[in-house]
């Protein structure tokens, strides 16, 4: 014969709120763990360059083109089309793209500071504008 477990009245009242709190805490913990796990600053080798970009952003195009033209090796994650990129962008704390990770240091907030930081890190980056961007934006 089954014996019914009876909880004290106070416990019975707190059971559902406690469960809800536990579920939220679990979700939050999972999110934090995921951000920690996917944060490329954790695993990026010293001085290695990683760009967080999108395909359509013009500053991303100029940054990518400049590094390619200067023969500077880099890795790139698309923050829209890859989970890794999306979580890396969240982990960076940046509010806009592109974001450059140099070793373990994120640099964001505009193209110029990122190019300067890359240069200061010892990479001789030559700022270069792709022809299609130049033709579109040239005033003459």
């Amino acid at each position: 014969m089954k014996q019914k477990i009876s909880l004290p009245p106070l416990m019975r009242r707190l059971l559902w709120p406690l469960l809800i709190v536990l579920v939220f805490a679990g979700v939050l913990l999972q999110d934090r763990l995921q951000l920690w796990y996917y944060n490329p600053a954790r695993t990026n080798p010293d001085k290695a360059l990683l760009l967080l970009t999108t395909e359509w952003c013009p500053y991303c195009t100029i940054l990518r083109h400049s590094l390619q033209q200067s023969n500077i090796p880099f890795r790139e994650l698309d923050v829209e089309t890859s989970k890794e990129g999306r979580l890396a962008f969240r982990a960076s704390g940046a509010r806009g793209i592109p974001v450059t990770l140099i070793g373990q240091q994120y640099v964001s907030g505009g193209l110029a500071p990122q190019l300067k930081a890359i240069s200061d890190a010892g990479y001789p980056v030559v700022i270069s504008i792709p022809d299609e961007v130049r033709q579109r934006m040239q005033p003459h």
Partner: protein
Amino acid sequence: MSQFQAVIFDMDGLMLDTERIALACWDQAARIHGYQLDPAIGLGMVGLNTRDCVRWVKSVLGEDFPMEEINVTSRELYHAELDRDTPLKPGLLPLLQWLEQQQIPRVVATSTRHEWAQKKLRKANILDCFQGMVCGDQVSQGKPHPEIFLTAASRIHVEPAACVVLEDSDPGVRGAHAAGMRVIQVPDVKAPSAEVLAFGHPVYPSLQQAHAQLQAWQGLPR
């Protein structure tokens, strides 16, 4: 082709061999501020006034690109360089002498600021060769807008259609064309674009050939 009554001269890159110096100084200034730039970016600024250069570079590289600081450094380097020497383009002096003999008025239309344009022309000993000067800071819209050329023509009371403009850059050629003036292009550091060449104006590698073209338009033997 009918005869012309006045000639409007661009200054940097057309009369003075200074575009090369300006580009080298801009490149050096950018390096001083921690940036290395593709020469194409400097070439993209040829023929534009300072305001339009700043606007263009910031539109491409972002508002936080320290264009103003680089410009200040570049200007210091440039003026130090020009204090040493202000080189003239080959063929300029014979052309100015011929126009003087023909009593054809000459005006300068340059994107450079008035104070500096005057200094440069004085340093090059050709300031007195001109009856007027319209500078980048004296017009509300720079080249390729026609305002600077129309203002230059009105200073000497000559109809735009009776003026010939000598220019090295595409924005200048576009402006002269928009002003309804005849134009001869003598490219300097940057070759004309296909769109500009489509205007069908004469393009010559030196002022000597431009001089011969002007003589031909006046009905004189080349």
